[in-house]
Amino acid sequence: MVEGLNLALDQAMAADDRVLVMGEDVARTGGVFRVTAGLLDKYGDDRVIDTPLAEAGIVGTAIGMAVYGLLPVIEIQFDTFVYPGFEQIVVHAARYAWRTRGEVPASIVVRIPFGGGVRAPELHSDSPEALFAHVPGLKVVCPSTPEDARDMLLAAIEHPDPVIFMEPKRIYRAGRQDFPEEPPFDISSADGVTTDYLSKARIARSGHDLALISYGATVPACMEAAERLSSERGVDARVVDLRSLYPLDVDTLVDAATACGRAVVVHEAPRTAGLGAEVSSLIHERAMLDLEAPVGRVTGFDVPFPQFINEDDYIPSVDRILAGCNKVLDW
């Protein structure tokens, strides 16, 4: 996935000179996860910028650049580090279109490596996506494959609205995927096309007995759970990768729930008021009569993300996902 993200940045910067990358340690070291590696040499320090260590300043100055007409892509080094920039995102980035008659949206991308599972120090493993999904004016997305990472980041950069781009760091380097290197759309005339990449869920596995709905790093876990359901119970699970966390692709969700009659939502973020609550609610509102059981949730707990020795107790494992599925199947 890191290569996919790097490719997207490279292709966007090559095709559109309004695009620039900024953040802590993004230039000389290429980012702590190397997502921006090689860009400094190619595009220079006016377009690949190591900033002072100040997230409100990074988001805030990027908003000013966007008002000028540039397309800044910000890297927040780790999930929890975004909180000092939260005010700038919520009050300003999210409302710029609203406060300018829709004419000057804050066209920024805020890339946030998020979630646990990499044995990181304390306060490096949060999943804050629901906080952003709750803020009107933002788009919130999360890829789970290298190809989606490339395509969705390209779309996010060219998209007029501010995009919170959640990057599941646990699968940054999990598995390779061959995909056409060519950009999926013409970067120089992306108007209107970008929304498609930032609003549609993906069917990661087809099936008709149970809908497993997730995003980010728990998608591969759901795929594994689906294989085990197939071999252990003969249950054919459909896996839906949300990709867009705001807005949710309601049609794909309702189709899956209607076709399967049973659904389980899986995410790593804490349960209460998480994305799972919204997904579950949408399905119950729109497909109640097609359901054989209430929608289940397998999530993190309502606790601070633990120290890493215990992180596997927190993160939804394949076994926990299977247990959640069995509960819904046996309801």
Binding site: T61, V67, V91, A97, R101, P160
Partner: protein, 355 residues
Amino acid sequence: MTDILAIIGDGDEIPDGPRPQGLSDKALLRIFSWLVLLRTFDERAVALQRQGRIGTYPMFWGEEATQAGPLFACDESDWLWPSYRQSAIGILRGLPASTPLLYRRGIGGAHGFWNPRTYRVAPICIPIGTHLPHAVGLAWAARMRGESLASLVWFGDGATSEGDFHEAMNFAAVFKAPVIFFCVNNQWAISTPVSRQTATETIAEKAVAYGMPAVRVDGFDPLACWSATRQALDRARTGGGPFLIEAYCYRLAPHGTADDPSRYRDEAEARRWRALEPVGRTAAYLRRLGVLDDEREEAARLEASEIMARAVEDMEAVERPGPAILFEPVYGSAMPWTLSEGLSSFPAEWVAGGA
């Protein structure tokens, strides 16, 4: 750094400084007409609020010099970043005066907001000091693109306590962004005196820690505000980086129409400061120079009254918008289904709007 630059005296104890180079009679009259227009806007707005025709309004009575002065030093290409205390600044850049009134009437969308690129005036900032990084980002971007423009950003003494002030000052200095940080130190943040915002003697001295120059000026003196801004802009435009200006004055009016300063400060002190208010003082100064007379002063006041009369008329001609205004300008791209669903939940006859 405690010296205060002043040009206009008070005709009594404070002597006039030398007439500033580069300001013709015409320019001086133009600055005066701006002061009068701002004053007229402010007084009309307060009256409209008292009559229940607009909502809560944060007046800027007495701070006209801190707005007209620095703005007069700017080029058309420079960007302005007002806080809520400069909510009418756009009218000096061609924004219809009805727009800030409509905003205070509680109407958004195309009525109360504007396209900032049209006037190079950003939307006013409501939270304290959080627009400072935007001013820096824009000026920095322009500098990287080789465009000669600067950002002029206003904020109060209270804003210097905010983290965004620090981050913006620091970014601007590190990247040599052409930004004029214009701090209106009116000594009061609602009920909190400046001594509770900072332990430094001046706001200006904070600049030292960022590696940028600063100057203190009389915030009731439009020519001192102009002169300092002019100097700062000259420096910024030639790659010298940002500049902090502390306009020392006093908040002569309440914080806003819902505030009663007698609860927390000695109003006798406010009355003493009132003798230094900029509009009367500038008029007296210009008369001493022989630039202003009764006829010209009357003409400035009449022009301002006419502009405001039209603005009030235009404001009141706008009917209450329908609920579409809630949804339409939220995104620059097509409305997501979540919003369309909200909009379609209203009966069609409501969506159209009207009184």
